[in-house]
C-alpha cells in the first residue's frame, strides 16, 4: 500500500490517507453515538501514525469541530440539542478548563503532573464506569417489577433540582427547570477536570448531563456535541495561530467522519438510551484499562486495548444502525404494499 502514501504539506508527515479515512469513520460513528469529541482516541492514534504531539492535538481539534457540525445538525433535527443548556455549561466550562490547566502547571513544577494526572484519570474513569453499570443494573431491576421505563434509575438530579437558588432557568429540550447555578456549577467542575486531565470533556460532560442535570440520554448526547463543536473551533483557532494544524489531514478525516457521524447519530434512533449508556460504560472501562497499561509502561498493549475497543464499538454501533434501518424499511414496505 506504499503507493498510496502521501506527504502532508505542512507537517511533512508521510501517511497512507486510508488510515486517516478509517480513523475518521470510527471517531465519527462513536462521536455521533456517544456525544464525544473522541480526542482520547484520535490524538494518540495520530501520534502513532507519526504526527508530532502538538500537530496531533491541533489537527484533532479542528477535525472534531467539523465532525461535530455534522452530528450536531443531525441531532438538532431529532430535537436532541438544548442550545441554552449547552451555552450555559460551555461558558462556565472554559473558566474551569483554565483553572484545571493551572493546577497542572503547579503539579509540573513539583514534577508530579504525569503520574497524578494519569491516576486521577483512572479513578474518574472507574467511577464513571461503575456509575453507568450500577445505573444499568438498577434499571433492569425496575424493568422486572414493571416500573415506568421513562424514569431514570439514578435520580441524583431530582435532589439537585430541589435547590432553588435564583435565577431559575427552563431548559425545554432537556425537559428540566432548575437553578441556573446547577448547570453552571456542573459545567465549571467538568471544565476543571477536563483542563486537568487534558481531554475534551465529552467523556465527563455526557454522564454529568444525564446524572446531575437530568437530561434524557439523547439530549445529553446532542447537547454535548453542540458544546464540543464550539470548543473544537476555539481549540482549532488557538492551535492554528500556533501553526499546529495539518489542514489536508483534517479534510481527509472529515470525509470519513461524515458517513461515520451519520451512522452513529442515526443509530441513536434505534438503540435505547440505556443501551447507549451501557456501551458508553464499556468504552470508559477500556479507556481506563488502557491508561493503567500505559502507566505500567506497556504502551503497545495500551494502544492495542484502545484500538480494539474502538473497532469493536464502531462495529456494534454500525450493526445496530443497519439492523434498525433495515427493520424500518421493511415495515414501510409492508405498509405501502397493496392488500
Amino acid at each position: 500500500m506504499d503507493f498510496l502514501t502521501i506527504t502532508l504539506p505542512i507537517s511533512g508527515v508521510a501517511i497512507n490517507p486510508l488510515l486517516l479515512v478509517l480513523l475518521g469513520v470510527a471517531v465519527g460513528v462513536l462521536g455521533g453515538f456517544f456525544g464525544m469529541g473522541g480526542a482520547w482516541m484520535v490524538t494518540p492514534a495520530l501520534n502513532i501514525f507519526g504526527f508530532p504531539m502538538p500537530f496531533a492535538v491541533g489537527t484533532d481539534l479542528c477535525h472534531m469541530a467539523g465532525k461535530s457540525i455534522i452530528s450536531t445538525r443531525r441531532h438538532a433535527k431529532f430535537g436532541n440539542v438544548d442550545v441554552k443548556l449547552g451555552l450555559i455549561m460551555l461558558s462556565f466550562d472554559v473558566v474551569g478548563i483554565e483553572i484545571g490547566a493551572r493546577v497542572v502547571m503547579l503539579l509540573e513544577r513539583f514534577g508530579l503532573a504525569g503520574v497524578v494526572i494519569r491516576w486521577v484519570y483512572v479513578v474518574f474513569l472507574a467511577l464513571i464506569g461503575l456509575l453507568v453499570f450500577y445505573d444499568f443494573a438498577k434499571r433492569k431491576q425496575m424493568d422486572k417489577v414493571g416500573e415506568d421505563d421513562s424514569k431514570s434509575a439514578i435520580t441524583w438530579h431530582e435532589t439537585l433540582h430541589k435547590i432553588k437558588i435564583p435565577p431559575m432557568v427552563k431548559l425545554p429540550m432537556a425537559g428540566v427547570e432548575c437553578s441556573l447555578w446547577l448547570p453552571a456549577t456542573v459545567g465549571f467542575m467538568v471544565g476543571i477536570l477536563a483542563g486537568f486531565l487534558g481531554i475534551g470533556g465529552g467523556l465527563l460532560m455526557m454522564p454529568a448531563l444525564v446524572y446531575l442535570i437530568g437530561c434524557p440520554t439523547y439530549v445529553a448526547v446532542g447537547t454535548d456535541l453542540f458544546t464540543i463543536m464550539l470548543a473544537g473551533f476555539y481549540g482549532a483557532f488557538t492551535y492554528g495561530i500556533k501553526g499546529r494544524i495539518e489542514l489536508l489531514a483534517v479534510l481527509i478525516m472529515l470525509a470519513g467522519a461524515a458517513p461515520g457521524a451519520m451512522i452513529g447519530t442515526i443509530a441513536t434512533k434505534y438503540i435505547r438510551g440505556y443501551g447507549i449508556r451501557l456501551m458508553f460504560g464499556a468504552t470508559v472501562v477500556c479507556a481506563m484499562v488502557s491508561v493503567i497499561l500505559k502507566q505500567m509502561g506497556w504502551s503497545g498493549a495500551a494502544s492495542w486495548v484502545i484500538m480494539t475497543a474502538v473497532t469493536a464499538m464502531t462495529a456494534i454501533v454500525a450493526i445496530g444502525m443497519f439492523k434498525g434501518a433495515a427493520k424500518e424499511l421493511r415495515a414501510k414496505k409492508v405498509t405501502h404494499e397493496p392488500h
Partner: protein
C-alpha cells in the same frame, strides 16, 4: 542581586542551548520545533496555496482553515442527509425510549 541572578541563568541557558546543543538536548525530552515552516517544494494547487499561506500569514491560514472545515462539515452533512432520505429512512422522529 536579582538582576545578576537572572543574567547568570540566561548565560547558562545560552551556554547549554546555544553552545552545547547536544548537552541541552540530552538534558530533557526531545523538544518540538518552536517555529515550523512548511516545505513548499514540489507542491502545487490547493496544497501549495495553503502551505504558502501557512508560511506567510498564520491568522489568515487559521481563519481559512476553519472556514473550509465549516463549509465541508455543512456540505457533507447536507449530502449525507440527502443520501439517507434517498434510502427512505425517516429522520424526523424517534420511536425508542430511554
Amino acid at each position: 542581586m536579582r538582576v545578576r541572578g537572572r543574567f547568570r541563568t540566561a548565560a547558562l541557558a545560552l551556554a547549554a542551548g546555544g553552545l552545547f546543543p547536544a548537552l541541552a538536548a540530552a538534558a530533557g525530552e526531545k523538544q518540538e520545533k518552536l517555529v515550523h515552516v512548511a516545505d513548499t517544494r514540489g507542491l502545487s494547487g490547493f496544497n501549495l496555496y495553503f502551505a504558502n499561506l501557512y508560511n506567510t500569514n498564520r491568522l489568515l491560514f487559521t481563519l481559512e482553515a476553519i472556514l473550509l472545515t465549516i463549509v465541508m462539515g455543512v456540505t457533507l452533512g447536507y449530502l449525507m442527509d440527502k443520501l439517507v432520505a434517498l434510502i427512505g429512512l425517516d429522520l424526523s422522529k424517534r420511536d425508542v425510549k430511554e
